[in-house]
Amino acid sequence: MTPLLSVQGITKHYGAHIGCADVAFDLYPGEVMGIVGESGSGKSTLLNCLAGHLAPDAGQVVFDTRADGPKDTVTMSEPERRMLGRTDWAFVHQHARDGLRMGVSAGGNVGERLMAVGDRHYGDIRGKATDWLERVEIDAGRVDDRPTTFSGGMQQRLQIARNLVTGPRLVFMDEPTGGLDVSVQARLLDLLRGLVRDMGLSAIIVTHDLAVVRLLADRLLVMKSGRVVEAGLTDQVLDDPQHAYSQLLVSSVLQV
């Protein structure tokens, strides 16, 4: 089976500092990969390199495109990469404000990606937008409200709807539950898990919250100082951490 995303030797330096160094892994269709680590460990740098927001200094990110098969997204032309960003890829930001257009109604936010790939029928766009609002548990009656009138959890769900409406195959998530309170987090996680399973999505989730990866991720990378220190199945890494840092991370979780 061809991996959906094959990452080799991704390295990014910020001057003399290491952003991330020599990261390699394969992601298969339908698989969810978690990336955990403390603040400053290079998780977000890695994610941004993978999603094409940052240009890595070295390495390859080979994506299995629908049309041409596996292709290195680092060296592909910018229009191609941006096209991927609108169709097969989705990016869920930590802060919904970064991923939404706050001055545009919820329906317009969801519809933007559809219009970007050429949908020109208002009724269809609106129908799909309403449908997706319902799928992320937002009342369809709020389709014309601006995201500024939404709660934090609703904004995050709206951002997810906006990203998934074009049926992407790979979703990048940067701390999708950060900044939400625990009950809202639980609902969001439940929703995400359902969507990932139903749509057969592959996902890469960056988080510092081990509970999130326990629920969502099949496999786990543990990062420290820009390097991957441990990789394996989620339950295996969390239940029997091998590296000293992973042990520290697992034992630091507060028990209620």
Binding site: V104, S105, R113, V117, Y122
Partner: protein, 289 residues
């Protein structure tokens, strides 16, 4: 007269502007940056249009200036006087007599010919500005032809008002490539942009951009399949000349809520009245009956 170079600007500046114009004509709808000069009038008064006019005027030209369709409002009068003084060219108010027409917010009702040039004053040349404030990003969107966002604006209009409520500065696609802001002309004028025999030049002074439409260019107003573009105007006839096919201004005429609809193109209206047409504002006229 002798204190100024012909048409105020120095020859090197005119040359630079002409280069920008030629590039604009070669790539219809593309915004060409140019080094906009300080002009002896404030930004927003048509400094871009004035610079373009100055660069293309020749001593043999006949010049006309329109402000919102009118020849006799502040902006039109001051720019016309400016070129009378600095270039000494003939000026006119008759559309058909002019070889260069500088306009603010209107296209003349009378069809233009291949011998004419229409110069627009543009406040904001970037159609995506209010949706995406980053210039670096909008330039990238133009170069990669990513225009989905433009439709988001139209979508918002329909969602809020039930129809496309954008009534001026209505975005157009030029030759199937660049999305262009036609300057704040009413969308009633949009169909005239396409396939026009005259050269159309757009100058934005503050924003330092020039763009252009060569003669007979294909210009399509953006819309949705189920909400097609409609060139709308007030559903009235001109009170003065009775015209039903021209764009109308609504004028308040007294303190009791009295209103008059009249042609925004004063030359067109005057011409019709000279031919004996009378609107409902004159008692006993043909249309009032």
């Amino acid at each position: 007269m002798s204190e100024y170079n012909f048409a105020y600007l120095d020859e090197q500046t005119k040359r630079m502007i002409r280069r920008a114009i030629l590039k604009g004509l070669a790539i219809p709808g593309y915004q060409v940056p140019f080094a906009s000069r300080e002009m002896p009038m404030p930004y927003g008064w048509g400094t871009g249009g004035v610079q373009v006019s100055a660069a293309i005027l020749t001593p043999e030209d006949t010049f006309k200036v329109i402000d919102q369709g009118a020849d006799d409002t502040t902006n039109a009068v001051s720019i016309r006087t400016f070129f009378e003084r600095t270039a000494g060219v003939e000026t006119t108010t008759a559309t058909s007599d002019a070889s260069v027409i500088q306009t603010r917010h209107r296209i003349p009702e009378k069809p233009l010919t291949e011998d004419q040039i229409l110069v627009y004053q543009v406040p904001i040349p970037e159609p995506l500005r209010f949706l995406e404030p980053r210039e670096s990003e909008t330039r990238k969107m133009h170069s990669l032809e990513e225009y989905g966002l433009m439709h988001v604006k139209l979508y918002e209009d329909i969602a809020r008002h039930g129809h496309i409520a954008t009534s001026y500065g209505y975005p157009v696609k030029v030759e199937g490539r660049y999305v262009m802001d036609p300057s704040p002309i009413p969308k009633f004028d949009n169909p005239k942009l396409g396939d026009m025999p005259a050269i159309q030049l757009f100058g934005a002074g503050r924003e330092q951009r020039i763009y252009a439409l060569p003669p007979y260019t294909k210009v399509v107003s953006l819309d949705f399949e189920d909400h097609p573009f409609e060139a709308s105007k007030a559903d009235q006839v001109c009170g003065l000349c009775g015209a039903s096919d021209s764009y109308l201004d609504e004028v308040i005429i007294d303190d009791a809520g009295g209103r008059l609809f009249c042609c925004s193109d004063t030359d067109y209206c005057t011409g019709r009245r000279a031919l004996g047409h009378k609107g409902p504002a004159f008692p006993g006229s043909e249309a009032a009956a």
